[in-house]
């Protein structure tokens, strides 16, 4: 039926020929043109100590890159993180004369959350833009597709902007990758500890987004809960695209939950809180740290949010009395593309840590030195924008930067919503 015609044969043989041809050409250029063609070449290149200067570093510039979802369907929600980092680098360039006498050039490429696009743009950053390091790459699936590559090629992969548990789980296998967001697992575990300590005997119902964000949270919760004190009576999931999650909330209620643990993002969390309030169900809500934002009181009526508990590791953007937060507001308004918010604080933080690490290695601007610096200077480091007492802690064997968080509860003050501290800082306990 499908006999190969004459042309098809020509086709195939030409394809083979092309293969050979290409390989032959490869031979010629290997030595002369591209330094970054293969991982081996890159590594040797970085190892050659040309006065301690590496790819991505010139006399006047330090080139950093990032992959990010800028446009596209789900893209825009996290744009403020990038805006925060960009604003901070601009501020350093303008007001502090850059780093090590060089200006920071920050190239963020749009990957649309698509793993394949992420590979593409990261390759572009590495090979065409020749960046020194990748900073604040965003998206679990997208970053999963590139982090092995970054580790193979020995390119610092700093402050990954997702809280998936795997980034920090195995520092030996991925020595070049360091996350920055509070790990979802850690956040879940800390919440679990808080529940078992303060509300023993109560039934817990779990509602989570059906992806790594939700599942890591739930795994963390189970890690932190003391099974003798609290029982999980129901687990309900929903898709990220779900329009309505009230059915699941109803199921938790019917299962007899006294406490609801919500691994949800603001839209869904607000819906759940509102529905519970309307149904006169006075369960204690614990919601994921991505909801610790005053905007929450605009998404759901403050009376509905009141009493809900969340947690945070960073200072919140509306605490403008704090000098570091005030400074952040100034930077965002002068150098930023977007107004200040909790996400811009995260971005700012990533920029600040990057600059600190770079300043520590001015005399030896290599990728290895950068990683050494990251591993040494952020031992029990109190960040400007971290909550007082929440210490960033990174070492060669521990890539989990944030292991402490503090609970916040929604309070009603003059009819307006406000997040207030409750309890002390809680530390994540690695092994129980």
């Amino acid at each position: 039926m499908w006999k190969l015609g004459k042309f098809s044969l020509i086709f195939l043989s030409l394809a083979a020929l092309l293969l050979v041809l290409a390989v032959a050409c490869e031979d010629e250029e290997e030595g002369e043109v591209t330094p970054a063609a293969s991982p081996a070449a890159t590594v040797t290149e970085t190892e050659t100590p040309t006065a301690g200067v590496s790819t991505g570093i010139t006399d006047t510039e330090i080139v950093l890159g990032s992959h990010f979802a800028k446009s596209g369907t789900y893209g825009a929600a996290f744009a403020p993180v990038l805006a925060g980092t960009e604003a901070y680098f601009r501020y350093v360039n303008a007001e502090e004369g850059g780093v090590c006498g060089r200006q920071i050039v920050f190239k963020a490429e749009d990957d649309n959350y698509d793993p394949a696009r992420a590979v593409e743009v990261v390759r572009k950053l590495i090979e065409e833009d020749e960046v020194f390091a990748i900073v604040a790459g965003l998206g679990t699936a997208a970053h999963s597709a590139v982090w092995d590559r970054l580790n193979e090629e020995g390119i610092p992969d700093l402050w990954i902007m997702t809280g998936a548990h795997k980034w920090a789980a195995d520092p030996e296998a991925h020595p070049w990758s360091v996350p920055l967001l509070p790990d979802y697992f850690v956040a879940g575990s800390i919440t679990g500890q808080y529940i078992s300590e303060n509300m023993p005997g109560k039934n817990v119902g779990v509602i989570y987004q059906n992806d790594d964000f939700g599942k890591d949270h739930v795994d963390g919760l189970k890690d932190g809960l003391d099974p003798d004190k609290n029982e999980i009576v129901a687990e309900q999931s929903f898709e990220a695209t779900a329009v309505d999650i009230r059915s699941q909330v109803t199921n938790l209620k019917n299962a007899g939950a006294d406490i609801v643990f919500g691994a949800c993002i603001p839209g869904h969390c607000a819906q759940a809180l509102k529905y519970a309030y309307q149904a006169d169900w006075d369960a204690q809500f614990f919601i994921s740290y991505v909801n610790s934002d005053v905007a929450m009181f605009a998404y759901a009526p403050p009376t509905a949010v009141e009493g809900a508990i969340t947690l945070q590791a960073n200072k919140m953007y509306d605490w403008t009395d704090d000098p570091a937060v005030a400074e952040h507001h100034r930077i965002m308004s002068e150098y930023g593309d977007l107004p200040a918010g909790n996400y811009t604080i995260v971005g700012h933080n990533a920029g600040e840590l990057t600059v600190m690490a770079l300043r520590a290695i001015c005399d030896n601007l290599t990728r290895e030195a950068l990683m050494d610096a990251v591993h040494t200077i952020f031992k029990d480091y109190q960040g400007n924008l971290s909550l007082p007492g929440v210490l960033t802690d990174i070492s060669e064997t521990d890539h989990l930067p944030i292991e402490q968080m503090r609970m916040l509860q929604a309070k009603l003050v003059d009819g307006k919503g406000k997040w207030e501290y409750i309890g002390d800082i809680i530390s994540f306990e690695q092994e129980e």
Binding site: Y74, A77, Q236, T241, V243, G267, Q278, A295
Partner: protein, 304 residues
């Protein structure tokens, strides 16, 4: 039993959301035989416009204003973007609507940013002691229904009835049905075919705008807000029959309810809420296998 009714009632609330946007989809399908993938984004954009108007205006001033703007936008899109591909194969027009999807979504992100915004529900109205709309909820035996859910359901049913009457009994509605069926003969009747298409898009955008205004309070106003709704609305429209306004709403309700029942009553180990979307879609496909043009859809005439 109580649990069952709770799930049914919540399902109806969700289903009327799907039905509302499905009505808009049906409107365009009837006049141009095209699945409009940009339907959700058109609604999203008009809701953002509404949000901007609300910064200085009252809700009930904004409401009619936004409907007019939406109608204008629909007519504009038909005239400028759809008209040049009129008569092209259906797939081409679908690709054009996908292009519009990208543009509208991106423009909204660029203009209003990606951070979600709260959007108010229609404020309370009291007519002869009976309360409509507004915040809060109503106790009905086993469960509660928020006034906003009722508003959505009432709007969906009202628009459905209005469209039914419009298509069935008014000359313009009849002319639109005729145009969709046989444009050449319609021209011979003195019907301005182009104008009918414009009216179809304008109407659809208006219904979509209502959908956007009523859905936003439920899921927050943000550029990707209509993605999930659109997919379910497509499913609802197809389930009910793509050319039937009644089918759109009924399809939406069936999907809303069956989703909840599947999530609640299937074994959690291997189905449960994790798989409720999958099972619901499977149900839709089974229904389609029995009735290939949906529950209320006219049997397609086979073209030879």
């Amino acid at each position: 039993m109580e649990e069952f009714w709770q799930q049914v009632v919540t399902g109806i609330a969700t289903g009327s959301v799907y039905g509302l946007l499905a009505l808009a989809i049906v409107l365009i399908y009837r006049s141009t035989s095209v699945l409009n993938f940009a339907q959700g984004e058109m609604a999203m954009l008009t809701t953002f416009v509404a949000w901007s108007i609300l910064q200085w205006g009252e809700y009930w001033v904004m409401f009619p204003l936004v409907l007019v703007i939406a109608a204008g936008m629909g007519a504009f899109i038909e005239r400028v973007i759809i008209r040049p591909v009129e008569g092209a194969p259906v797939l081409n027009i679908i690709i054009v609507t996908l292009g519009m999807f990208a543009i509208l979504n991106n423009v909204a992100t660029w203009r209003w940013g990606g951070i979600p915004k709260g959007f108010p529900a229609p404020p309370e109205i009291e007519v002869t002691g009976i309360r409509f709309m507004g915040e809060g909820a109503l106790d009905i035996g086993p469960t509660v229904v928020s006034y906003h859910d009722l508003t959505i359901l009432v709007f969906a049913v009202a628009i459905m009835v209005a469209l039914y009457v419009f298509f069935q009994y008014t000359p313009l509605g009849l002319a639109m049905r005729a145009t969709a069926q046989n444009p050449v003969a319609s021209r011979l009747m003195g019907i301005r075919v182009g104008r009918m298409l414009t009216v179809g898009w304008a109407l659809s955008a208006t219904v979509g705008a209502v959908a956007g205004l009523l859905i936003a309070p439920l899921i927050l106003l943000q550029p990707p807000m209509m993605m999930g709704v659109l997919l379910f609305a497509f499913a609802a429209a197809v389930l009910g029959g793509l050319d039937s306004p009644v089918g759109a709403v009924v399809g939406g309700l069936i999907i809303g309810v069956s989703e909840n029942l599947v999530g609640t009553y299937t074994p959690k180990e291997w189905l449960g809420p994790d798989m409720k979307l999958t099972v619901t879609l499977l149900i839709i496909v089974v229904v389609l296998l029995i009735r290939p043009t949906g529950i209320f859809g006219r049997r397609a005439m086979r073209r030879v």
